[in-house]
């Protein structure tokens, strides 16, 4: 249900790996050695990949007719939306998160830094998916809402991005500092996981008027 056909599964993975590889190619070997940029590269690439795949979240359901089934069946909309976005996260984003340690080791990061990066991505990406779901539900009925979706959703992605990268960048100051940033990241994610389905249900009921 997440993809139109199986080949789209490779699109997100290839896009992520390619964008991550573009940065050291353009920066050159001198700047890549400084290691400060590396968590930022991974985080920005994951944000861009998630923005690409958000189209498959509810738009495909809207086109195939599943959307009307959501609204008509007696099951509470909160759980339907919650599980839909959760499965989207598991199928689409988790592969990207699991590829990251392999790429990170390829960039000569320490083992502990790779672990913190992996944990930050695990904590932060569900929040990204749920907040992206809010954006998708608002532009659902628009035929070409893709660019507007990016514009609407990016202000909400910025705090997650900031905390995600700072958890790795501040690792030099101690493990507890990184864990503090991870805790705030987890807070934002859980907050969005609990509240976003309500907002999305609201937006679904509003856009069905058309």
């Amino acid at each position: 249900m997440c993809f139109k056909n199986l080949s789209e599964f490779g699109v997100s993975i290839f896009f992520y790996v390619l964008v991550v590889c573009l940065f050291p190619i353009s920066l050159g070997s001198y700047f890549i050695q400084s290691k400060l940029i590396l968590p930022c590269i991974f985080w920005v690439s994951i944000v861009l990949s998630i923005l690409l795949t958000l189209d498959g979240l509810f738009k495909i359901d809207y086109e195939n007719g599943f959307f009307d089934h959501y609204l008509l069946c007696d099951y509470p909309l909160f759980f339907l939306i919650f599980t839909r976005i959760l499965t989207h996260w598991i199928i689409v984003v988790l592969p990207l998160v699991f590829i990251t340690p392999l790429l990170g080791l390829g960039f000569n990061l320490d083992k502990m830094e790779v672990l913190i990066l992996f944990l930050s991505l695990l904590c932060g990406t569900p929040g990204l998916c749920f907040l992206g779901g809010i954006g998708v539900s608002l532009v659902l009925t628009l035929p070409r809402g893709g660019v507007l979706l990016t514009f609407l959703v990016l202000p909400f992605y910025i705090p997650i991005l900031i905390f995600g990268t700072s958890s790795v960048l501040l690792f030099n100051y101690g493990l507890s500092v990184s864990v503090a940033q991870l805790a705030v990241l987890l807070l934002i994610t859980i907050f969005s996981m609990l509240l976003a389905p309500f907002v999305i249900a609201w937006a679904f009921r509003a856009s069905i008027l058309s």
Partner: protein, 255 residues
């Protein structure tokens, strides 16, 4: 039951137009009065700052526009909530018209902040918490206008934009408390309460006058925009014809 019918009579477009349209000119002139007094005091009565000499006086535009950008977003959130929950149609119009002014004041705050920052901090922009969250606020305003422009069905557009503004309310505590939570470049609180201020009196009063000016200006322009939007929406109704007829009769009589 009579309470609801009373409220329904109060909250129609016609009632709003007839009661509030008279205040537009008055509010505008009063706000301009405060503007002139505030600027007069600013230029002639406030002393020069110890370090910044006279450069700090851009505060008299920067602080009111920053305050107003947050206040307008609060108003927008409040009226969006009224629209979504209680289905008050005026509230949706007020929110829609506030966005234009709100985005302009946010942009003004960011621009005057940059102009002030260049001689003081040596850089046009820095990515500290308060500036970044103010930029996010600008994107939220622009996103609201973009969504309203993109969705063609007006009812669906109003509801979706109201939801967007409510979701964006999370940003406001971040802007307000950012100077308390993160100790970065932007300076801390200046106005801490009513009696506990660290700013001296002669600098404070023009600031308060400018803030009052900006509030009155916002209210005047929102009423003006909402009234013109009401006329546009209700253009098939009889009362609009009567209003336009009396208005043109007044103009012809003056000519």
């Amino acid at each position: 039951m009579s309470y609801f019918t009373f409220l329904k009579n109060i909250l129609t477009f016609e009632f709003f137009y007839k009661k509030f349209n008279k205040f537009t000119k008055l509010l505008l002139y009063v706000s301009l009065f405060f503007f002139c007094i505030g600027l007069f005091f600013c230029f002639f009565y406030t002393p020069l700052d110890y370090q910044q000499k006279s450069m700090f006086k851009i505060i008299y535009i920067h602080v009111p526009s920053a305050f107003l950008s947050i206040f307008i977003y609060l108003c927008m959130g409040f009226f969006s909530f009224l629209y979504i929950y209680f289905n008050v149609k005026i509230a949706d119009l007020i929110a829609m018209e506030s966005v234009r002014i709100g985005s302009m004041f946010t942009f003004l705050a960011l621009m005057t902040g940059s102009i002030w920052a260049k001689p003081m901090w040596g850089t046009w922009w820095v990515w500290d918490a308060r500036l970044t969250s103010e930029l996010i606020l600008l994107f939220l305003y622009l996103g609201y206008s973009g969504l309203r422009f993109a969705i063609k069905n007006t009812k669906v557009a109003s509801k979706c934009c109201a939801i967007l503004s409510l979701v964006g309310l999370v940003n406001l505590p971040v802007i307000h408390y950012s100077v308390q939570w993160w100790y970065t470049l932007h300076q801390g609180y200046t106005l801490r309460g009513f009696f506990d201020n660290t700013i001296s009196g002669s600098m404070l009063y023009p600031l308060l006058l400018m803030v009052i000016f900006s509030l009155l200006f916002y209210i005047a322009s929102v009423i003006f925009s909402v009234c013109s939007r009401i006329l546009e929406i209700e253009k098939d109704k009889v009362w609009v014809y009567k209003e336009v007829f009396t208005f043109t009769k007044k103009i012809n009589r003056k000519v």
